[in-house]
Amino acid sequence: MLGIIDVREWQAVIDLATAQPVKRDEEFLQPLKKLAERFPYPGDRDNAGSKWTIEAAEAVVNHYHPGWLFLGFTQPFFSSTYGQCTIETRKNTAKIIFDYILGFAKKHSFYSLIVSTGGLVPLKGYIVLPELKGNLQSSAWCHNMAGVYQSEPGDEAVLAQEPHIRSIIKKEDFAEEYKGIDPAYIKDFPDYLLVAEDGWHFKGLCSNNRVLYNIEKFNSTLPVYSEIGYPDHIEGICSLMEEALEQGKKVLLAVIEGLDEDDFLLPYQNIDNCRGWYAYQGYTLYHTLVTGKPFYQCTHPPIYDMSARRKLPLRYPMSAPHTGTICEDSLGRRAKVPTAAVGSRSITTHAMVNADLMLECYIRAQANMGVLVAVNEDRYHANLNI
């Protein structure tokens, strides 16, 4: 996958598999470089971020004419997570985004399917577990989940005494329940995977050190608006889109992060979002939306071992710094029509959606490092030639 990074005053062309700069100056790169230059990312915290997605999408569609398009909106999530966001502000934000999507879909004759990643809840407190002998690892993606690695005898009893843990999944039990899954997935799976009760945030190795106001909750259902029918389960959305594409329809999948059903201003259905103890969130939700596969067939577990050393030479170090694996079987990669994506969830857009042509903000550790245009050359050239 080829990437063009634009940091406002400078551009580089990169092989995303190695993250090494490459010397490429073919003619086809010129419009892609201009695309990166035209859309500097304004940030996640106000409506400019949502406007960025829709305006960039306009440029992508006019250039590439995709039959399947992914759009990602994150402003409701970041506004509520890192600041106080009133209900009125969130509803106003939601209205702006819905209007953008529906207006865009109508203009370009897309059938829309809009999924919210679910609502947030006010932070109630922290789960720290100082008596654990193993390492408690959390992540900035899923504040309500954590894993215990390198556990020792006695740790299970410590976990059992914590009143705000909703589920404790033992690695052996998980491996027993889901026989036949990728051994690398099991290797990365924590000794104990933990899900907190709503409002409780795990604090440990690699957890987010910023002040949070609201965090993710266990969303057993997600609100979905669809013009191509409704599935029974969130895992069915991908096949629904495939069927619509087979019928010759152009399909737009929009993901809006951080909206609850009360904020969902369009007619919607609540779709089952659970697999037993697990409710889809974070990158596994993106993964299942674009592959139709359950969470245990994702590129890595919901919490993965960040202390594991990665093999040299590194693979996809910009895209999947801890796992080296991107989603290779997404609808973006396998649809029979040209595919494209614009998203403000940074590397998730190309690492999970993996369309022919993608434009995303490149944010690392919440520092705005620029924008990235990513292109899968094989499909991109073939489709442009058609």
């Binding site: 190695t18 993250a19 190795l205 071992d305 202390s307 050393r309």
Partner: protein
């Protein structure tokens, strides 16, 4: 009574960092063993380009600072919230155990200025050395000679931030009285431990000093690793323009003639983070910039610390952690 950890030498009970008090005739930490964050990085992410290549480190930090950089990228823990920030209470043996379990070669004090919680950092360092770990810090270098000696007893490396050579710059943009103590400490540490220096470039404010700083550092150690950091200003300077990469790259290339181990980072696609042989120009260590800070090692082409092409010796402390033979998820320590 005056605090002797940093060059403010505050007269108690007032202290610039709000982290110490006088208790029974000694300067005492108000919040011992309290840390706001601990996470994982590798030597290149610190950045440490000439020490312990590709090894993993536990980065740990507390809160508050003795400086008040107008562009601070960690102001939420270093300057603004102070005690509002969540803190872990972690005793030294627990910190070391976490590092060992997480396959770390060492511990790196970072996030905020280490001298504002120095007794806790020294306690961790003492325990880490006892367990055979490497220890070091990133610091603004505004510490006293006494503090330098305390740290040298346990610390194996330092990355000192030299923000300018001008007192005016330090007073106006860093909130410190003078650069003199920082320069004194760089000169003192250079001959006693592994030292790398970092300079954050703020366009139109200190970019004109790049060559002068290179000359200054080369006068101390011609192989001194120097990291020029493309700063995306935050906090009070968040509206400043971003550094001009082309312009600074040209200056860095010129600097490499004076100080070969000069690097320019914090933007994706930079090739000015590779280590070249100062004699024949061969690429000895390849790195990529994929994150907001530091780099990742992608290839180590030296034999030990020697150029395989011409035999020139290159400054390098510690051995290379070769993960090319692992399956990538084994979690083994080099």
């Amino acid at each position: 009574m005056r605090c002797n950890y940093c060059e403010w030498r505050c007269k108690m009970p007032a202290s610039v960092c709000h982290m110490y008090e006088e208790r029974d005739g000694t300067i005492t930490e108000i919040y011992p063993n309290q840390w706001t964050t601990y996470y994982l990085t590798h030597a290149e992410g610190i950045p440490l380009f000439h020490g312990w290549p590709n090894h993993q480190f536990l980065q740990i930090g507390a809160f508050n600072c003795n400086a008040s950089c107008a562009y601070c990228i960690n102001s939420r823990v270093a300057i603004e919230p102070g005690r509002k920030t969540f803190c872990f209470q972690l005793e030294p043996d627990r910190v070391v155990k976490i590092a060992q379990k997480a396959n770390c070669m060492g511990i790196h004090f970072s996030v905020n200025e280490v001298t504002v919680n120095l007794p806790s950092a020294l306690a961790v360092a003492r325990e880490a050395k006892r367990k055979g770990l490497v220890v070091g810090c990133s610091s603004n270098g505004y510490f006293t000679q006494e503090a330098a000696d305390m740290m040298l007893e346990y610390f194996d490396f330092f990355n000192i931030s030299l923000k300018s050579l001008s007192d005016d710059y330090y007073r106006e943009h860093v909130g410190l009285k003078s650069v003199t103590p920082v320069m004194r400490n760089i000169e003192y540490l250079a001959s006693r431990t592994h030292l790398e220096v970092t300079t954050t470039v703020v366009q139109t404010v200190n970019d004109h000093e790049i060559t002068a700083i290179a000359e200054y550092l080369a006068g101390i150690d011609p192989q001194m690793p120097w990291h020029i950091f493309r700063l995306l200003p935050e906090y009070k300077m968040k509206d400043m323009i971003h550094p001009d990469i082309k312009e600074i790259s040209e200056k860095v290339k010129e600097c490499r003639k004076i100080l070969p181990n000069t690097y320019f980072s914090n933007y994706i696609g930079t090739q000015l983070i590779n280590t070249l042989c100062p004699s024949c120009g061969q690429v000895l260590i390849e790195r990529i910039c994929a994150q907001s800070c530091g780099a990742l090692l992608s290839a180590y082409n030296m034999k030990g610390n020697v150029c395989p092409n011409c035999g020139t010796e290159v400054k390098m402390t510690g051995s290379f952690c070769d993960t090319s033979l692992t399956d990538g998820r084994e979690g083994e320590v080099c």
